[in-house]
Structures are given as structure tokens and as C-alpha cells.
Subunit: 141 residues, 2 copies
Amino acid sequence: MSDESDPIEAGLRTEGVRVTRQRLAILHVLREATDHPRAEDILARAKEQDPSVSQATVYRTLSVLEKAGTVLRNEFDGAGARYELAEGGHHDHLIDLDTGAVIEFHSDKIERLQAEIAAELGYEIEWHRLELYGRKSGRRR
Amino acid sequence: MSDESDPIEAGLRTEGVRVTRQRLAILHVLREATDHPRAEDILARAKEQDPSVSQATVYRTLSVLEKAGTVLRNEFDGAGARYELAEGGHHDHLIDLDTGAVIEFHSDKIERLQAEIAAELGYEIEWHRLELYGRKSGRRR
DNA sequence: AAGGGATCTGAGACTCATTCGCAACTTGAG
DNA sequence: CTCAAGTTGCGAATGAGTCTCAGATCCCTT
């Protein structure tokens, strides 16, 4: 069941993170997810695969994976954190205020400007968070 | 004690928001604040001026003032919201990871780029959140 | 200046996401 | 295969923020 050729799994093992059944289930959920699920959703989906997964473990695992750099935590709306796998490079988010859909985007220009601004203020950016909240053009509010 | 010539106060009154002793105390705290205080801090400081102010009222008032556009709510670190008066135009934040200091900045260029990107995706931005987390240049991590 | 109804407020109960404590169970190095 | 260290499930605990409700206050009206 455990695919030793999996790069994420191997990476975790290398970092001394134990790869348990529950963690694999949660990782699997994140891989399949096309949305940015909340802990609650992740728990529900992980249970389908392994009913023994508990809420506490979901939170603990997400925390472990976040520290390992495998998972990213977002807080779009203030109704609980939403998670995504960190694969595929850095990106920011555009949240559709009408549907709640989350669109990922990336702009080197903006990244560069951010670094410039920080430099002007005498800082070096460690990380940043950019979220755009908007509606499809031409929609009545 | 109530200064009728105060623009914020007058504005609220005009919008049908009642100006109470407690609300004035909270408003006063926000005016004096140079940091971006949390609800907890605001409560403590407001109590110095008017001991009758309660936690519930702080939250309710901040919510009322936010809706009125008088106050801005931020969530920098995930340890509770931090507030600031909305006067002085839009700006973004740079958070010093070493000291926790919050530096305000504004860049028309970035704002323009954000709008462009959103437009390309078929969206119009309603509002956005940009936070840079960094350290003073040349500091060892 | 006085009346009075809608709006506010304080206190404490309550919600909800997230974290903890601990005994039992797994993982993985040797 | 063994066993210490790392994990897990459960349920209790936490903490920011919200709600309920009776009493207090604001401020429009007269």
C-alpha cells in the first residue's frame, strides 16, 4: 500500500517525519483536492479512506506537513483555515466573492515590486500574502 | 465631553449610528494608538478611560465602526484581529518578523498591477489584502 | 424640559475552530 | 523481531468572538 517511489512520502521520511496510515490518508485527500478544503472537509474525506482518522490527527498532521513545507495554510475568509499542497510553486489567490471560488495566479512583476518596496523600507521579505477579493466583471453588486 | 465639531463623530451620527460614552472611549483609544491593537488591548485601554466598557461592547463597537468604514480590521498573525482607524487612505502592511512591528506602505504600481491581473482573469477587485513579512536587511535568521 | 421607543450595554452563557492530556498503539532503526 | 520514540483517538480544554436578555441610555419629538 505504501508506495516507496512517492517523492513527497520519501521526502517526509527523510526529514524524520513518520509516515503513518493516517498521514497518508490526509496526504491523499490533499492530492485529490481541487478546491482549498478546510480541516473539517479534510477530516470527512480522509475518513472515507480510513475511518480511524480523527479530528485531532487532521490538525496535528496539517501542522506537521506545514512545518515540513509540504502544505500551505490559508485564511481567506475568517471562517477557518484552508489548506493546499505546496507543490507547483508559489502563487497568490483571487477569491470570487459571489461563488467563493479560489483562483490561483502568479505575477513576477508584483513579486518584484514587493521586493523593491521592502528594500526601500530596509527590509528583506521572508514571505508574503496577497489575496484579491472580487467579482466577475460586469456583475451587479 | 462630546465634541460636536468632531468629523468622525458627526459622520457616525449622520449615518444613524448612536454615539455613546463607550463608543467614544473606544474611538479615543483608536485615535491614540500608534500600533495596531487587538480587541483585548482596546478593551484594556478603553477601560482606563471608562471602566464600564465591556468586552462585548468592544467587539460590537468595532464591528459597527468597521461597517461604517471608520475602522479597518486586520489579521496579521492568526492570533486575533488587529484594528486601526481608516483615516489616511488605503495602505498595505509590512510586518517585521523580529519585532512584530507593523509598517504601513502604499504603492500605486502594485495596486494597478493587481487590477490588471484581476481583469485578465475576468474579475473586478472589490478589495484586497497584501501583507509582507520580512526582516531588516542584513539580519541573520 | 420631559417623554418614550428604539438602540445600546454589561454580564455571563455559548459557539466553534483548534489544541491538549494521556493511555494505548505504530513505526522504523537496529 | 524488539522496543523506544513518535503517533493516535478520545474527550476535555482553550480562546477569540457572538449571543441573550433585562436594564440603561440616546436622541427625536413635543
